[in-house]
Symmetry: C2
Subunit: 331 residues, 2 copies
């Protein structure tokens, strides 16, 4: 016991001190108001002798993923995986290949998938790729894809397309005693495969959309089979619901980029007994990433939350103006 405890203590201390002595925790940020609002907030809640001090266990920070920590264009990455997964499985599964919506997906007919109020085609190909297998089988399929698939524009592995300025925010908050959570409309099972490696966020701190699994004890051991029962969509008003269900306390910092994050920004910042920070990443950078907000065809529509931002005191990050770099130079 002694030995491992000493080892643990050493790791903890070394990692804390070495990060704490860095001069600028947000080196990829321009010295503009956005950066200042983050640093001012963290300094305010961590000053022990201040009335704004927030005890460590209550330093909960929540981050949307798609469009906040990594891109969501030309497709959300999970959807890129769905497309590739259908390509991978179709040759061996004639019944799957014969499905009209799978055909549409393989033909790149996104418009057909998005038809109908509930985007039935899209929902169907998501269901096909996210249910009927064990959680281990699903994990393996995602893991194998992530090791080789590359973003069509940036030519990097998807996991190397995270926003460097936001990685710095994650680290900066954790160094200051925050627990960082993903709260995303994406599938929890999809994100948990790589969240620890990509963001340093362990699976138990990933809140996302979920369906129930079914437990079976097989001859080979216990398995959980993914189903489409009790689907919980962790988006819009579902985000504060997911935060309560999975985390069980109110965050004091919330980072998003679209109207899907509006309710969790409200939940975090309005009448919170603690000081709070709400931040929106505004995609304004065609050259280095993408520029979008009100465009009806893009994922990540940002209209209402942008209007509310000034009234609510939310920081709006202008990606082009406020970030020195978007991605790390060396992946």
């Amino acid at each position: 016991m002694m030995k491992s405890s000493l080892w643990l203590a050493t790791i903890l201390c070394v990692s804390i001190f070495s990060t704490a002595v860095a001069d600028d925790p947000l080196v990829s940020w321009q010295d503009t108001m956005a950066k200042k609002s983050i640093i001012d907030f963290v300094e305010k809640v961590t000053q022990v002798d201040s009335p704004n001090f927030v005890p460590v266990p209550e330093r909960i920070a929540v981050f949307d993923n798609d469009g906040t920590l990594w891109p969501e264009n030309p497709l959300p990455f999970q959807l890129a995986w769905v497309m590739d997964e259908l390509k991978r499985r179709s040759p061996d599964e004639p019944q799957l290949a014969a499905d009209p919506m799978v055909k549409a997906a393989l033909a790149g007919d996104i418009a057909k998938l998005l038809e109908g109020k509930h985007h039935d085609g899209l929902m169907q190909i998501v269901a096909i790729t996210h249910s009927g297998m064990t959680t281990d089988e699903f994990d393996a399929a995602v893991r194998e894809w992530l090791a080789v698939a590359k973003h069509p524009r940036f030519g990097r592995l998807y996991s190397d397309c995270t926003y460097q300025p936001m990685q710095e925010v994650l680290t900066y908050l954790r160094v200051n005693g925050f627990k960082t959570f993903i709260v995303s409309g994406g599938g929890a099972d999809f994100m948990r495969v790589w969240s620890e490696q990509v963001y340093g966020i362990p699976p138990e701190q990933v809140v996302g959309s979920t369906g129930l699994t079914k437990f079976e004890l097989r001859d080979t051991g216990p398995v959980l089979i993914k189903t489409t029962e009790h689907i919980f969509v962790d988006d819009k008003a579902g985000k504060p619901v997911g935060i309560h269900q999975f985390i069980g306390r109110r965050p004091i910092a919330c980072f998003g980029n679209s109207d899907g994050d509006k309710e969790m920004l409200e939940y975090t910042t309005i009448n919170n007994p603690h000081p709070s920070l709400g931040l929106i990443v505004h995609h304004t950078d065609t050259d280095r990433e993408y520029a979008y907000d009100a465009h009806p065809t893009s994922s990540g529509k940002l209209v209402e939350a942008l209007v509310d931002a000034s009234q609510r005191g939310w920081t709006v990050v202008d990606m082009q103006r406020d970030w020195k770099i978007v991605f790390a130079e060396t992946p």
Copy 2:
């Protein structure tokens, strides 16, 4: 930033070192096989140079609550709260007081509440006390009760009725890099009110039965209203399902006391690529606590899991034989 990081590092180091130098981490345990199995397991998975070493992030330990960390007799404590809550509310709420099942509860007619395959009466009074209010209102009601309500036999606050030997296991595991979770059939919202204070387990590490909440932005601020939609029962086969949904990885240590814990013991210990520990608290102690297992009227029936224990290699704790004390002498 520096200041708070130093402070954090100091706290972490002091708490780790001071606990690590204690001679015996499980002083309330007799020196029997049960204690040895816990210590052997922890030493095995924490030895850096051993093939059985488990990296810190994968040291996940799950604990049932009722009957494992504190008693579940004469009633599970949450049900004691339900009864007291109905008493508290009835005088001001004539409609509630007129409900036949509320009447049965107030008259102590437990048999009536348990009638029917699904214990409809019981479900009804649970629904009445667990939905229709905001999460803040629910929290406050539980918190106020917990501050004054006492266990009918032990004469202590319910929160002072935790098993001291299990508190030592929680601490011992955490000192050795484990993350400790509650995985209980009890309501997550009920347990999260006091889990941090009572067990040092923060709300985000409490997995329990849940219903969805509904988000509303009111003039006074955002609220979440408790509903009975999408009820998830975190018991039996629901426990591994809950573990996957909330934690997202397989535990290596699992502590339970009833057949309701059988599936999570299986999920933890059968064909786990890491070494694992399964442990069952067997209630054998009429004098100091309670003795029950197959009794049909008691909560916490233990029959099947007890039969499976030897085949599965699960440790069975005989409370009377293996624990020096059950409760801390001074609450």
